[in-house]
């Protein structure tokens, strides 16, 4: 598929036709993407030309930092019933993509942050920190931001669909008999309107998740039929040299954290410190001896993402489980890690 077919407006409103001449996105993907593949209320005209320009050449790209495409093997299954519902079984191979709207989302955030710092002052809001710039949700700028942010979510969904398409094409080239079904696609670093029970009363809330993901438990009405009985898949990345996990949302997460869980191991050390401690070349060579292939344009980037620069993901997911946010379903070991 030519990524240029996803034009700026198309990508941000992102409507997928059931029958696509380019064979992607597959219709079966739609029900496995949160909100059936499109964030409602997107207002592309609230996205600046600069943000659109930044997006133009980035659709279908992975990006750098902690973003990755990883080929993993299921190493351990904790919950056979849920794993079966997710299509996971031991030694099955999965592809995991961690990537978002790329520069577009940052450009939207950057521009609205500045506008809201100025607007807050004009509205008499005393900000304890400028990073906490805000505006009333029903103000003109608040509504514009929501529309632009939702457009950014749709770009992220479209971008991952394009990356998933390329991954499918490569896998099918080498393994023609294989198939690759989408387990789940969920965004983080978003604000979503959701209904939650607060003090015994159902209320409509704006739920911000930063460094966190949705984790709807079994029975949640927004889950597709195929997942409603078991709950939402929760994908928690570890590092390029350690395992990652698939969890399932727990009903208790609703009252504990508005149906949220962590979305990754989290860094144990800054990039600056990691760079001082490790050599990217040595990490690549050492992981190759363990059967893990790393593909990155930069050995320095690999050093910054060194496995031990991250927290112990097993401990992190155990904490999430004990906290009642999500339960472990399967553990995956990395085979190939591609950095953008």
């Amino acid at each position: 598929m030519d990524p240029a077919r996803f034009t700026q407006v198309d990508a941000m409103t992102w409507r997928i036709e059931p029958v696509d001449a380019m064979r992607v996105p597959a219709i079966s993907d739609l029900e496995r993407i949160e909100e059936s593949g499109v964030a409602a209320g997107a207002r592309p005209h609230c996205v600046s030309d600069r943000a659109k320009e930044r997006q133009r050449r980035e659709m279908g790209t992975l990006g750098s930092g902690n973003h990755y495409l990883e080929v993993q093997a299921v190493a351990e299954v904790f919950d056979v019933k849920v794993a079966t519902a997710f299509g996971l079984e031991k030694e099955k191979v999965v592809v995991t993509i961690h990537c978002g709207s790329r520069g577009l989302g940052h450009q939207i955030g950057t521009e609205f942050l500045k506008d809201m710092v100025i607007a807050a002052g004009s509205a008499g809001i005393a900000l304890p920190d400028r990073e906490l710039a805000c505006a009333p949700i029903n103000s003109e700028i608040g509504q514009r931001y929501l529309g632009a942010m939702r457009a950014g979510i749709n770009c992220a969904l479209a971008n991952r669909e394009i990356l998933g398409h390329y991954a499918r094409r490569v896998i099918q080239h080498y393994f023609p008999a294989s198939s690759m079904d989408l387990l789940f696609d969920v965004s983080h670093n978003t604000c979503k309107v959701e209904t939650h029970v607060v003090a015994g009363k159902a209320r409509e809330l704006f739920v911000h998740r930063k460094g966190a993901t949705r984790a709807f438990g079994p029975g949640h009405p927004s889950l597709p039929d195929s997942l409603r009985d078991v709950g939402q898949p929760v994908l928690i990345g570890g590092s390029m040299g350690t395992e990652s996990y698939v969890l399932v949302g727990d009903v208790t997460s609703e009252t504990k954290a508005f149906s949220s869980a962590c979305h990754g191991a989290g860094r144990a050390m800054s990039r600056h410190a990691a760079l001082k401690r490790w050599s990217g070349r040595k990490i690549i060579d050492d992981l190759a001896l363990e059967g893990i292939l790393i593909r990155s344009p930069s050995t320095r980037g690999v050093a910054e993402e060194a496995p031990h620069a991250y927290k112990d993901v097993s401990a992190v997911v155990a904490a999430a489980e004990q906290a009642g946010l999500a339960r472990r379903v399967a553990r995956m070991r990395p085979l190939i890690c591609i950095k953008g």
Partner: protein, 148 residues
């Protein structure tokens, strides 16, 4: 990591990186605000690559902000924007500030993935650890955390 000529006590220009959990801090030093801003941009480039950068292409930018600290963020974000949309890296910077407006000139070249081996793409300058100040000895510093 510190810049080649980091020596704020001597009133010279330079840059440094500083630690932040998931991202990285950039800070420039110089005898003037403009010099500190130019060095902060050098620190930004050093987040991406340590390779030599040819100054064969020239890009002009302008931005404004209500105060000098927000202007630093605007400046770095303008550089990041040009890096992203032009797929370039910049190795030399010239800044002129008039009131609330900044005029900048960037010299650089197209990214060469082999030669520059870009470690990351900075996504945006943030208000975290944002500070523009004149220290002892009259040296200006300008820095913030950059999201990568």
């Amino acid at each position: 990591m510190a810049g080649r000529s980091t020596a704020p006590a001597e009133g010279r220009s330079g840059w440094e990186h500083f630690s932040h959990d998931a991202d990285i801090g950039v800070r420039g030093f110089g005898p003037s605000i403009e010099a500190a801003f130019e060095q902060a941009a050098q620190a930004l480039t050093a987040v991406v690559t340590g390779a030599e950068i040819a100054g064969s292409m020239r890009v002009e930018i302008a931005c404004d902000a209500p105060d000098i600290e927000l202007l630093l963020v605007e400046w770095l974000n303008a550089v990041i924007y040009e890096m992203a949309v032009r797929r370039m890296v910049f190795g030399r910077f010239a800044v002129r500030i008039e009131g609330k407006r900044l005029h900048g000139v960037l010299w650089g070249e197209a990214v060469d993935r082999e030669r520059h081996a870009p470690a990351c793409e900075p996504k945006g300058a943030t208000y975290t650890a944002l500070r523009v100040a004149r220290g002892a000895g009259g040296v200006w510093s300008a820095g913030c955390v950059v999201d990568v």
